[in-house]
Amino acid sequence: MSIDKETAARVAHLARIRVADEALPALAEEFNAILGFIEQLNEVDVDGIEPMTSVTPARLKRREDVVTDGNQQEKILANAPDAREGFFAVPKVVE
């Protein structure tokens, strides 16, 4: 399985990272080196093996469904690059 320039561009877009056109061939090459390394996993017989979901088997704790936190609007917005009138501000998303 080899990654070409188009696939690299598609992955970059899926990851929402802008990559300049001229950087795509080198990126595709790096992907191929890493994926080539990962291909070794195909040698392993995994028939009947469950994929790991939790490394330390433990049942998630439950708690009552009540509000335990909140009323921290100012703190939540304190680090925002653009906050206005109590909201995060972003470029227009709907016309």
Partner: protein, 495 residues
């Protein structure tokens, strides 16, 4: 008189309790040492006001006579930990200027136990790296050099700043985090001790996430005893991290008897790699002999899936990273790219992330995105998770057969030069973690102990791997190894 900054945590604790020194004196000694060590680029955000205030409070508490072990002990904190009101950027430009409104559970526990924060420590960006070369703050420098050679060496990564700071006596101990070896490899490269506890022993709340099923924090210290003391203060259940274990935290220091008579120590044949340097081979054999002389029973063991740990890791860790790092979108915190007229929200995401993430982080996020994408999820991600089950099973079978700890080298080499790996392909760099990454995949505790010096005069470390939740036993074996190895060398001060 010894400079107070060179004390171990246990020595300082005893002298503080005896009233022989004060936390303020101890803290001032570290602060002036940090001031003089800018060349190491270990501390990236200094917090002298906070440390002086905490030191005064610690002295008051010590005077009352009810102080816990960590009271008055000055520490460095890896930049990955969120510290209230203090820059916490995970070594990344995308978190430029981020000052959390909250404190991570681990650091809160340390402050509650009276410890003193000296500042934040350099690290690879988002803990992705093995050399501290991916940091937005620039390289941290290893205080060790090859004899009189002035070439700058890597302190390892990702906890490179923590390792350099402890090795250079800028602080008494430091927090680290370990996703594939990021505590143990830098500890080995700088001649200090570092333990990654069992997954779930320490809360991950408030620690910037890289790969959540692998990340675990731990202490980096000057001795095994110090690691035991500091780990105890960092451990425990936290309602805010559902993966933190609701188990009592033992007194780890009390486990340090040094008696390992009759303990079964496994030597895994798969860790004997082709092309392994003779010196690493010899260190491992010496360490094995030391444990045997101390009364342990040495057994050869097999961990057949070892070879597949790194490739499985380089599916699972990037997959989790691509998901965790999706939150850096320029909306809630950190950097946001400037937009041109007519550019919309997708441009904002893409430009922000291209500007804010460094090359290695971008690469791993994209690899993770790829292995999780439609059509590849089963072939890569699910297969890697199945291999992970097998890797864990290898260890379980060995422990079921009565093995109590496993001895391996910590790293495939001593510290190398900064820039030496610049032209290597990413896979070459990833091989640094070959001995450590299995432990994260299996969720086990692992500790790196300095055990020798190579021909160039650089420290080398051995790794011990323990059974889940048996950090006390593991620390005790490490203590026996530390006693036998008698490693006392320090880097000669050039900075």
């Amino acid at each position: 008189m010894t400079n107070l900054n060179t004390l171990t945590i246990s020595e300082a604790r005893d002298r503080l309790k005896a009233g022989d020194i004060t936390a303020v004196e101890l803290t001032e000694s570290c602060l002036s040492e940090i001031e003089g060590a800018k060349a190491l680029n270990a501390f990236v955000h200094d917090t002298p006001e906070i440390s002086r205030e905490q030191a005064k409070a610690a002295d008051a508490r010590l005077a009352k006579g009810d102080a816990p072990a960590m009271c008055g002990i000055p520490l460095g904190i890896k930049d990955l930990f969120c510290t209230k009101g203090v820059l916490s950027q995970a070594g990344s430009a995308i978190l430029e200027g981020f000052k959390p409104e909250y404190e991570s559970t681990i650091t809160q526990q340390l402050w509650d136990s009276g410890a003193v924060m000296l500042g934040k420590l350099n690290m690879d960006e988002f803990a992705m790296g093995s050399t501290n070369e991916t940091s937005t703050y620039g390289n941290a420098i290893n205080p060790w050099r090859r004899g009189n050679d002035t070439a700058q060496l890597t302190p390892g990564g990702s906890s490179g700043g923590s390792a350099a700071a402890v090795a250079a006596d800028l602080c008494l101990g430091a927090t680290g985090t370990d996703t594939g070896g990021s505590i143990r490899q830098p500890a080995a490269f700088t001649g200090i001790t570092g333990i990654k506890p069992t997954y779930g022993r320490c809360s991950r709340w408030g620690v910037v996430a890289f790969a959540s099923s692998l990340d675990q924090a731990g202490p980096m210290t000057k001795s095994v005893r110090d690691a035991a003391i500091m780990l105890e203060a960092m451990s425990g259940h936290d309602a805010k991290d559902s993966t933190s274990a609701d188990l009592a935290v033992p007194n780890f220091e009390a486990a340090l008897t040094g008696d390992i008579k009759g303990k079964k120590i496994g030597i895994p044949k798969e860790y004997r790699m082709d092309g392994m340097p003779d010196e690493i081979e010899k260190l491992w054999a010496d360490g094995t002999a030391m444990l045997k002389d101390a009364g342990a029973e040495i057994v050869d063991i097999t961990l057949p899936h070892t070879k597949y740990a790194l490739p499985a890791y380089y599916v699972i860790a990037p997959a989790e990273a691509s998901s965790n790092l999706a939150r850096y979108d320029g909306v809630r915190y950190g950097h946001r790219a400037t937009l041109a007229a007519g550019e919309g929200i997708d441009d904002m995401y893409e430009k922000t992330r291209a500007e804010g993430f460094g090359h290695e982080v971008q690469r791993r996020v994209m690899i993770g995105t790829y292995v999780l994408s439609a059509g590849f999820y089963d072939a890569y991600y699910n297969r890697a998770r199945k291999v992970r089950t097998l890797i864990k099973r290898d260890f379980e079978q060995v422990f079921d057969a009565g093995v109590e700890a496993i001895l391996t080298p910590a790293t495939p080499s001593a510290a190398f030069g900064l820039g030496d790996m610049a032209d290597a392909d990413p896979v070459q760099m990833y091989l640094n973690d070959v001995f450590t990454v299995t432990v994260n995949l299996a969720g086990l505790p692992g500790i790196s102990v300095p055990a020798g010096i190579d021909k160039q005069g650089l420290p080398l470390g051995l790794q011990l791997i323990g059974r889940p939740w048996e950090e006390g036993d593991l620390l005790n074996v490490a203590y026996a190894l530390e006693n036998a190895a008698g490693f006392v060398s320090k880097p000669s001060k050039w900075w």
